[in-house]
């Protein structure tokens, strides 16, 4: 038939037209480091506001702080912009000398005025991470007197809270304490916003990279800063591509279209084992997975029940199966790999002990509770394992899965019963987590100390609150460490928290990539050491 034969020709032509082979570019340029990552969480790159994982890693490469951790030793705090510092005799004043000759990306010199402006700006803007440095006693009204530029190269930092200077140095190493280029930021100020609108998607720092483009949900491009104080980075450009789907990340990595893929699953990493072009890397993560009980709950608040919860968790079983390669056992509130972290993990699953504790508490078999957790792996699997164990000791539980945006408001309103959740430190000092797990100055509902896990679980933390204050104020590092050891033990033994696991980060990278360092916190991601 005529029509059909001409149709055949047409469709054949169409098929041919769509199947023309295109050469693919199978290698990234020699001086460019390309990362595949889910960047959906990035909402700002202003260091005074940024508190997300993706953004935090980028900010860490755009800006420097007074003090920071260098990639060769991630547990030792050293001077960044600061060259040296001195504590006053009463431990209330830190005098910081800046490194001479540093410049910002704009070419402006890095001065003490920039430092005072940056810290003041963060406190005055008062965005989410501002609490980190506001702990020093700084407020919008007093910060200009608290952080003073004595001359171009000297800054005087006054500690207004009862806090040891060592802790203050750690706080000043966090992202929110990044030093911005005052002159450049002021140039883009609108209605006295201290450059807030502009800095969201621009950079004005002195870090190894400057921001070239940020297209949300598409890509971020960073260009090397040629006058960086450690020398210009070898990778002249860093590209972070938004790839939400882990299997697409794996394909891109295997093809060599990206140099590193950040969100590969445990299965995918195993699948890469036979490929000599790529390697799977691990790094410690600060995330803890814990279970917590609402102390307003009549059953869960009983001390025997809380102790029993320590014994019902199938620690080894989960680490060997559903958490394989993603989490390790860790039962203390300060993650291992950090200064003063306890590595004692005394609890194992012991159902007999748990049963007798539940019996001691006089709990009726068939008591019903709910378990809230995030609607994603591995939280729901962990919750299921706990549900099965609870069932064995005679407690019926219902699991409620929700998205974080629904779960966190519920948690902050104390409306949960048992919750399986996670927590990561906000900065590199044990006070960060002690403040969350062992400090609650006001347990009243109206106090709304929603940032503290103690308050969220309606636990007054009697005795521990004072101990936490004492640790924060202690200036002798050894004494401090021993107080934190005591705090960690006390929270382990008698608190609403059963801390179970610590996260392990895994990512894949091309075999020719070297020197890509990832630390425990988002502040510790280094692109400048990468070579290919």
């Amino acid at each position: 038939m005529k029509i059909t034969s001409s149709f055949m020709k047409a469709s054949l032509a169409a098929v041919l037209a769509t199947s023309v082979a295109f050469p693919a570019f199978a290698e990234t340029p020699k001086d460019t480091f390309v990362i595949a990552r889910n960047t959906a969480d990035a909402i700002t790159l202003d260091p005074a506001e940024c508190f997300e994982f993706t953004g935090g890693r980028i900010v860490a490469n755009l800006y420097e702080r007074l003090f920071l951790f260098e990639p060769d030793n991630l547990t030792k705090l050293v001077g960044g912009i600061a060259e040296s510092y001195e504590f006053s005799d009463d431990g209330k004043v830190i005098t910081v000398k800046l490194r001479p000759g540093l410049t910002f990306h704009s070419g402006n010199p890095v001065t003490a005025q920039d430092v005072a402006y940056s810290l003041g700006r963060a406190v005055k803007l008062d965005k989410t991470p501002a609490f980190i440095i506001k702990q020093i006693g700084w407020t919008a009204d007093n910060v200009d007197e608290a952080v003073v530029a004595v001359d171009d190269q000297t800054v005087q930092i006054n500690i207004l809270a009862d806090m040891s200077p060592a802790l203050v140095l750690n706080l000043l190493s966090s992202g929110v304490a990044s030093i911005v280029d005052m002159k450049e930021v002021q140039k883009h100020e609108v209605d006295g916003d201290m450059g807030y609108a502009w800095l969201k998607d621009h950079s004005a720092g002195s870090g190894p990279y400057k921001l070239k483009t940020w297209k949300a949900n598409e890509l971020v491009m960073l260009d090397a800063f040629s006058d960086y104080r450690h020398g210009e980075p070898e990778m002249k450009r860093v590209v972070i591509r938004h790839v939400a789907e882990p299997s697409a990340q794996r394909l891109l990595l295997e093809k060599g279209d990206v140099d590193a893929a950040m969100e590969l699953t445990a299965d995918q990493l195993k699948g890469l084992a036979g490929n000599s072009d790529v390697s799977a890397e691990q790094y410690p993560k600060g995330y803890l997975m814990y279970m917590a009980t609402n102390m307003d709950h009549p059953v869960l608040s009983k001390p025997e029940v809380r102790e029993a919860l320590n014994y019902i968790v199938d620690y080894d079983g989960m680490v060997g199966s559903i958490l394989d390669g993603q989490y390790k056992i860790h039962q203390n509130f300060w993650p291992s790999g950090m200064w003063a972290a306890s590595t004692d993990n005394p609890y194992n699953q012991n159902m007999e002990k748990a049963k007798s504790l539940i019996a001691d508490a006089g709990i009726e078999p068939g008591t019903k509770i709910t378990i809230d957790t995030l609607n994603k792996s591995p939280f729901k699997e962990v919750a299921q394992s706990i549900q099965a164990s609870l069932n064995e000791v005679g407690i019926d539980s219902e699991i409620i899965l929700s998205d974080g945006k629904t779960l966190w408001p519920k948690y902050r309103a104390r409306k949960h019963e048992l919750i399986v959740a996670r927590w990561g430190p906000d900065y590199s000092d044990p006070h960060s987590n002690a403040d969350a797990f062992a400090h609650n100055p006001d347990n009243r509902f109206e106090a709304k100390l929603t940032g503290k896990l103690t308050w969220r679980n309606a636990w007054s933390a009697d005795g521990l609150t004072e101990l936490t204050n004492q640790a924060a104020a202690e200036s002798d590092p050894e004494k401090r460490a021993s107080i934190y050891a005591e705090l960690q033990q006390k929270v382990r033994e008698d608190s609403p928290f059963t801390i179970m696991f610590q996260a392990i980060g895994t990512f894949g990278q091309r075999a020719n990539v070297d020197g890509f360092v990832n630390g425990v916190t988002s502040d510790q991601a280094y692109y400048r050491t990468v070579t290919k």
Partner: protein, 353 residues
């Protein structure tokens, strides 16, 4: 009376103009109604969801003070009807607000994400029409023969294979193994930013600026995801064409035409096919419009920065400005395509003239 009779007696016939005005007026009324309905529904759903837009912005660690400052800044302390009116007023002034996720004005985001979806959807629909219609006609003409079974199987597969699976397999085969096309993403980053986003559709922008490298790269990226969507549209269009054609071929006028000795081509294309065209336009319009919503799964698998991913991500992040803005654009494109279909009916259907 005298005035109106004078008008009626005038020799100018206003009827066609009235008809056109009616069509346009109807379109405008429909647009306004759609607009109010869409904004009201999305707005109310957004506000009664258990999602907390404040936590979405400040994070779950925020202190009470930071939380409350944002709460008031967003105007959440006002009654919901008042919030809606404020929102509506802003939208009418062209201000959809800022997206939480991207920090940019929603309208800028849409300008960036919608063309990406438009590009995919248009190619997919064109392929669907070019291959789907002839295949459907052919299957109907040779009902029960091998080609008919083939078209029907393809139609069924296109409808039932999950697209994220097919997408992954296609990537594995054509990108990873055969190296015929480029991988996930819309363009390789070293071509990014070379052409000015004039229309936002990279293929068109690159062609306008005669940047053939960029064009080639963009084409290589678009083929796979567009093919995935094309399989869906092709399958649907072919299936519907086949059943419409079968209906027509069994009619007596077709028999009459054949008896009169017309050649088969004229019978099929001139007589039978012209009668299914109106129905086909409806089907094609619907397919195109549903593709313009953006396919979240395809966009996710292929890391395609389209409107579907944008709206979905925004929903997860309780980013209501972005959700409402995105939904409005999708709603408006439905209305627009419907109007376009209406106009096309008038052209192809003699009865509608």
């Amino acid at each position: 009376m005298t005035d109106s009779s004078t008008v009626q007696n005038a020799s100018v016939d206003f009827k066609p103009y009235v008809n056109v005005a009616r069509t346009i007026g109807g379109g405008v009324v429909m647009l306004i109604l759609t607009f109010i309905g869409l904004t009201a529904i999305t707005f109310i759903i957004g506000r009664i969801m258990p999602n907390d837009p404040v936590v979405a912005i400040v994070g779950d660690r925020a202190s009470k003070e930071v939380y409350e400052a944002m709460y008031f800044q967003l105007g959440l302390d006002k009654p919901i009807w008042q919030q809606y009116l404020i929102f509506l007023n802003n939208v009418l002034h062209g201000d959809f607000g800022n997206s939480v996720m991207t920090t940019r004005p929603v309208i800028e985001d849409i300008k960036r994400f919608f063309p990406a979806t438009l590009e995919l959807a248009t190619i997919a629909t064109l392929v669907g029409i070019i291959i789907g219609i002839p295949a459907g006609v052919l299957a109907a003409v040779r009902q029960g023969k091998l080609i008919d079974h083939f078209v029907r199987i393809v139609g069924l597969l296109g409808h039932s294979i999950p697209i994220f699976w097919l997408g992954m397999v296609a990537l594995l085969v054509f990108y990873a193994k055969l190296d015929w096309v480029a991988g996930p993403g819309r363009i390789d980053f070293f071509y990014d930013g070379i052409v000015e986003p004039f229309t936002g559709v990279i293929l068109i922008d690159a062609a306008l600026e005669r940047q053939w490298d960029v064009f080639h790269n963009a084409l290589s990226h678009v083929i796979l995801p567009a093919s995935m969507l094309a399989i869906y549209s092709l399958a649907y269009i072919a299936r519907m064409t086949r059943s419409f054609m079968l209906d027509q071929l069994n009619q007596e006028y077709v028999l009459t035409a054949r008896v009169k000795g017309l050649n088969e081509g004229a019978v099929i294309w001139h007589h039978a096919f012209r009668n299914v065209l109106v129905q086909l336009i409806t089907i094609i319009g619907l397919t195109y419009a549903s593709l313009l919503e953006g396919s979240v799964l395809t966009e996710t698998v292929f890391a395609w920065p389209g409107i579907g991913q944008y709206i979905t991500n925004s929903l997860f992040n309780a980013d209501m400005n972005a959700v409402i803005g995105g939904t409005l654009v999708v709603g408006l494109s439905f209305v627009f395509i419907n109007m376009l279909s209406d106009i096309l009916y008038r052209i192809v259907d003699p009865r509608a003239k």
